[in-house]
């Protein structure tokens, strides 16, 4: 080892330290961690969608942190918190929606809780039995954003992505129609009832229906809607009628619609158009009766079987209906009479009498003419079984002349006693005649006749019978003798046969003689010549 020179003031070499790579590399680790953490945080924040609140009546089946919000069965959010509203009347569900679903949170978006539901119409939400309920969503079409929603208590019948149109029906009562019931068109299921509620004034009901495309085009401005609920039984002068739509409608009820025939096809109805809901098909399909004229008809007979709504008929054509039935006192005859007010739909009368259109211009004169020709109202039995009556208008040329008093309101049409009444009268007359017949006298006479007949028979028995018996015995004897005489081996027969044989021989001899005489007529004189040898 060489001695280090002390004299030179030499600078000491600096030991180059190794570059601190290790240190810098170590610091890369927290940087990477910070980057990773930062990225995760950014991702979490950027993926976080809006928070919405939905109010429900109950939180049954909902669980914070678990219950999902699904649209078309795709998870679009999750319930984060469930709390009571301030007045504890509702449940406020706070949910976080995925960011991609933000545009769907609009004014008319609807939410409801999907739970297993079993109804007469079917079973739904069965999957939620195991997985727990979830919140279903139906995205609206509005463009106005919304964050606070009110949840539906029942799932909507149709979702907004189903093509079709909604209509409003106003009816007298709800019948057996319920939400979710079927709407029929020519017995095809074409839609559903989406809402049914009482009007605010309590004077009727409003039913909302949804008709699926393409059937919604059949709903025109002239379409009539009626209750197809259950079984429609009617028993009237027309007979016994049962009318149903389908088995499902019997159980569940429903609404049917159709455009009455004979009306020109009109334009399809607008969405949310308002229609009248009729109680049955017949009522719905009735032609629009614009001009209605009421008349009074007064009868002397019982009106049992006639009721408001009973038909007024002219030789089978429905002209109108009975509006009111009452009693009136007739001071002239001091009688109580039955007064019936009928409505005559003049349009029907006139449309069916187009041929007489000129006369129809003055309806009063026209009706007067008809009355002069014998038009009368009459009560007739429509159904013998049930005794339903109807008012018939017909011509009775033999009727007593009458006229309409147009000063009364309503004018009174002349009547004829009903068929039944006439029948009753003739039956009574017949009975009276029958009463006049002296049945007792006739009985006594008949008795006498029978007695003499008995005597006669007795005499015949006592006197005629033995004589007849003797005669018969004689006759039998005679017949026996005759039989014996005519027997084959009877002497008479044998003798006769022998005699005939003799006669035939004699005839032979006579022929031989005549032959000989023919050849030898001289023998008659000379006698038979001896034959020469």
């Amino acid at each position: 080892m060489a001695e280090a020179p002390q004299d030179f003031d030499l600078p000491e070499a600096v030991a180059a330290s190794k570059r601190r790579w290790s240190l810098s590399i170590v610091w890369a680790i927290p940087i990477v961690a910070a980057l990773a953490g930062g990225w995760l945080a950014f991702k979490a924040i950027s993926e976080q969608g809006p928070t919405i609140t939905i109010t429900f009546k109950t939180a049954e089946g909902l669980e914070a942190g678990k219950t999902k919000i699904k649209y078309k069965n795709v998870d679009v959010g999750e319930v984060k918190q469930i709390a009571l509203s301030r007045d504890a009347s509702e449940v406020v569900v706070t949910a976080e929606v995925v960011k991609g679903a933000t545009p769907y949170l609009v004014e008319d978006t609807r939410f409801w809780v999907v739970r297993p539901r079993i109804g007469a119409g079917g079973v739904s939400g069965l999957g939620t039995l195991f997985s727990g309920g979830y919140i279903g969503a139906d995205v609206g079409k509005s463009s106005q954003a919304r964050r606070k929603f009110t949840g539906l208590e029942v799932p909507p019948v149709f979702t907004s992505d189903v093509p079709g149109r909604q209509f409003v029906l106003r009816g007298h009562d709800l019948g057996s129609v319920g939400i979710g019931d079927t709407v029929f068109f020519r017995r095809v299921q074409v839609g559903q009832v989406t809402a049914a509620e009482l009007d605010k004034d309590g004077n009727g009901v409003t039913v909302r229906i949804f008709v699926n495309a393409p059937y919604d085009q059949y709903v025109t401005t002239n379409t009539r809607f009626w209750h197809a609920s259950g079984i429609d039984l009617s028993l009237d002068a027309g007979g016994f009628k049962v009318h149903t739509e389908s088995l499902a409608a019997i159980i569940l009820g429903g609404i049917a619609f159709q455009t009455p025939p004979g009306i020109a096809v009109s334009a399809p109805a607008e969405a949310d158009a308002v229609f009248t809901l009729f109680s049955d098909r017949a009522q719905a399909m009735r032609l629009p009766d614009t001009t209605v004229k009421s008349y009074a008809v007064v009868f002397d007979e019982s009106l049992r079987g006639l009721e408001p709504g009973s038909p007024v008929d002219f030789r089978g054509v429905l002209l109108g209906e009975v509006k009111e039935i009452g009693v009136q006192y007739n001071p002239v005859g001091k009688q109580i009479q039955m007064r019936v007010e009928v409505l005559i739909f003049r349009d029907r009368l006139i449309s069916r009498m187009k041929m007489m259109a000129p006369e129809a211009k003055d309806p009063k004169a026209f009706v007067d003419t008809l009355v002069v020709h014998g038009l009368r109202a009459q009560l007739r039995t429509g159904n013998l079984l049930t005794g339903q009556l109807y008012v018939a208008m017909d011509f009775f040329p033999t009727a007593k002349p009458a006229a309409i008093d147009w000063t009364k309101e309503p004018p009174e049409l002349p009547t004829m006693p009903g068929g039944l009444q006439e029948l009753q009268a003739s039956v009574t007359g017949l009975a009276r005649k029958l009463q006049k017949i002296p049945f007792e006298q006739i009985g006594a006479d008949v008795h006498q006749v029978l007695q003499s007949a008995d005597k006669l028979v007795n005499r015949l028995d006592a006197e005629v019978a033995p004589e007849a018996r003797a005669t018969l015995a004689e006759a039998r004897k005679t017949l026996g003798t005759a039989e014996r005489t005519l027997n084959r081996d009877a002497p008479l027969q044998v003798d006769a046969r022998q005699a005939l044989r003799e006669i035939s021989r004699a005839a032979q001899a006579l022929r031989a003689l005549s032959d000989y005489l023919e050849r030898h007529p001289e023998a008659l004189i000379r006698g038979k010549r001896e034959q020469k040898p």
Binding site: S22, W27, P30, A33, G37, L40
Partner: protein, 210 residues
């Protein structure tokens, strides 16, 4: 107590085999003459390295607890569980001992480790002479307990491997599991890179000067 430490005497103790050797003048990287391990008076850049690991662990500790560790998918819907929600579930369903074990092993231990290492580092940097013995004990505990935090990761790994019935039921490891595993590993690195001898250095200096 007066002791002469290896550092004071200019000696180097081997980390691996414990052989005491004299520093050589030549060269800057020294090796143990017996086992070949690199020799330092103290672990190089111990404090800054530990800080680096500790900070990385602290950052990842947040996603580890916030993100789901396990994603369970079954016939009846999917579910994502974080460590804490798992503990809550176990607790509410009545498995209190199990909930306690998971809570201690997966939440308290990593959090405690982060805290303990921070305390140690700050005290060393401030050359504090406060309670060196207790601090050394704390360090030993941190080193010992570190690996037990992996219980959660084991459970998730085993379930993920076992429960794979397609549509019926599947279990997947969530992003939280990776973060959690990283936290455990990083805290172990941090504990490893910390040199406990630093705890005693200020004490000796004070003795020498005082």
């Amino acid at each position: 107590m007066t002791t002469t430490t290896a550092a004071e005497a200019g000696m180097l103790g081997c980390h691996a085999c414990g052989l005491l050797s004299r520093p050589s003048a030549a060269g800057h990287t020294l090796e143990c003459a017996r086992c070949g391990a690199s020799l330092h008076v103290r672990k190089p850049y111990s404090i800054s390295r530990t800080w680096a690991f500790l900070m990385a662990a602290a950052i990842l500790y947040i996603p580890a607890n916030v993100l789901p560790v396990m994603e369970t998918g079954s016939l009846f819907g999917a579910q994502k569980d974080t460590i804490l929600s798992g503990v809550v579930y176990l607790w509410t369903s009545g498995s209190w001992p199990l909930a306690a074990i998971i809570f201690v092993a997966s939440i308290m231990v990593p959090g405690g480790k982060l805290l303990a290492l921070t305390v140690l580092l700050v005290s060393v940097q401030r050359r504090s002479s406060w309670n060196p013995l207790e601090r050394t004990k704390l360090y030993r505990m941190v080193e010992l307990v570190g690996r037990w935090s992996m219980v959660d990761i084991y459970v998730v790994a085993i379930l993920t491997a076992l429960v794979q019935f397609k549509a019926l039921a599947t279990i997947k490891a969530g992003p939280g599991a990776i973060a959690f595993g990283a936290v455990v590993v990083l805290t172990m690195f941090a504990a490893e890179s910390f040199d406990p001898r630093l705890i005693w250095d200020p004490l000796e200096e004070r003795q020498r000067h005082g």
